[in-house]
C-alpha cells in the first residue's frame, strides 16, 4: 500500500465536510473552531481534534496566511525549469528548494527532446533584474549538473481560483 492510500483511510465524511467548510478560510471571529462546530452541528472539541489529526498526518500542510505575492509587490514571477540528471535530482532539488526566494520546487515529468526539463523552481521578485540574479544563484547551486535551463515568465493571469475539493 502506498503512503497516500494509507492517508486516505484517515479521512471520513465528516472530515470532508470540515475541509469543505474551511478551504475558503477560517472564520474571523474570536472562537473560530466553535463557530465551525455550530455551523456543522458538531462539538468544538471534535472540530479541533479532527483538524489536529489532519495537520499531524500532513493532510493539512499548515494553517496560516497565504500571501499574495503579486499584490505584495513581487510582480515578476519566473518559472525556472532545469534539465538535471535523474540520479542527482533529489539532492539538487532539496538544495534549490531551500533557497529563500524559491516558493515551489518540484520534479516533473519531461518530454524529451521538446521538453527536457525535470526540475521546476518558482521564483518571485520585485524586478526582472532581481529574478535574473536569483536564477544565477540556482545555476551556481546546480553547477555542472545543469544540462540546460529556461525561464518562463508569466505574461498574463488567465484564471486564478482557489483549489476546490
Amino acid at each position: 500500500m502506498k503512503p497516500d492510500d494509507m492517508q486516505l483511510q484517515l479521512i471520513d465524511d465528516v472530515d470532508r465536510r470540515l475541509i469543505q467548510a474551511t478551504q475558503g478560510g477560517l472564520p474571523l471571529v474570536p472562537r473560530p473552531y466553535h463557530r465551525l462546530a455550530e455551523q456543522m452541528d458538531l462539538s468544538a472539541v471534535e472540530v479541533m481534534t479532527r483538524l489536529q489529526r489532519m495537520l499531524t498526518s500532513g493532510i493539512i500542510r499548515r494553517i496560516g496566511v497565504v500571501p499574495n505575492h503579486y499584490a505584495l509587490g513581487y510582480r515578476v514571477n519566473g518559472m525556472t525549469v532545469w534539465d538535471v540528471p535523474d540520479a542527482q535530482i533529489d539532492e539538487l532539488g532539496q538544495q534549490v528548494g531551500a533557497l529563500e526566494f524559491v516558493s515551489h520546487c518540484y520534479r516533473r515529468r519531461r518530454y524529451p527532446p521538446k521538453w527536457p526539463y525535470n526540475l521546476f523552481a518558482m521564483v518571485h521578485g520585485q524586478t526582472t533584474a532581481q529574478v535574473e540574479a536569483q536564477i544565477q544563484i540556482i545555476a551556481q547551486v546546480l553547477g555542472h549538473y545543469n544540462c540546460g535551463h529556461q525561464v518562463l515568465y508569466s505574461t498574463r493571469i488567465l484564471k486564478k481560483t482557489g483549489l476546490r475539493i
Binding site: L152, K160, G162
Partner: protein, 148 residues
C-alpha cells in the same frame, strides 16, 4: 508602504496557527496587539487582496484527488478562444500565459485522479491542440518563507 504590524502578520503567521479555544488571542499576544486588532488586520489584508487566504492549506493529493500541471502550445491568433475553452473547465484552478512556445500553463485539480486524463483528452479534442501533462514526481519545498 507597509506598516510594521502588517509585516509581522505576513512574516510570522504563515504557519503554526493554533488549534485552541481562542487562537487569535494567543497569536495577537505574540505579535503585541489585541485580538480585536488582529481580526481587523486580517479582515483588511484579505479585503485588500494582500493575502489570498487565511486558514488551513490542504495537501490536495493526500485527499485522494488528482492534481497536475499541464502546458499547451497555442497559436497567438487562437489564444483568447483557447483560454476561454480551457478556463470553462471548473477543474482548471489556475491558468497563466507564459513567454514560451508552450505558452499556456494551467493547474488541473480533480476529485477523482482518473479525471485528469479524461479532462486532458477533452481539452485536446475541443481545441485540436496537444496538452503536455507534467505531473509532479517529487516535491522539494512548498514555501512559507516569503519575507516582506
Amino acid at each position: 508602504m507597509m506598516d510594521a504590524i502588517t509585516r509581522k502578520i505576513i512574516n510570522q503567521l504563515q504557519g503554526d496557527f493554533p488549534i485552541t479555544e481562542q487562537p487569535y488571542a494567543q497569536v495577537a499576544e505574540r505579535l503585541g496587539i489585541t485580538e480585536t486588532e488582529l481580526l481587523q488586520q486580517l479582515t483588511n489584508l484579505l479585503d485588500q487582496g494582500l493575502l489570498s487566504r487565511f486558514g488551513p492549506l490542504y495537501h490536495a493529493e493526500r485527499l485522494g484527488g488528482g492534481l497536475t500541471l499541464a502546458a499547451m502550445p497555442v497559436p497567438e491568433n487562437k489564444f483568447d478562444q483557447v483560454a476561454a475553452q480551457v478556463n470553462a473547465f471548473p477543474e482548471v484552478a489556475h491558468n497563466y500565459a507564459r513567454n514560451h512556445e508552450l505558452n499556456m500553463w494551467f493547474i488541473l485539480a480533480t476529485e477523482q485522479p482518473e479525471r485528469i486524463d479524461e479532462i486532458i483528452q477533452e481539452i485536446e479534442a475541443q481545441t485540436g491542440l496537444p496538452v503536455y501533462n507534467m505531473p509532479k514526481q517529487a516535491e522539494y519545498y512548498l514555501g512559507l518563507k516569503l519575507e516582506v
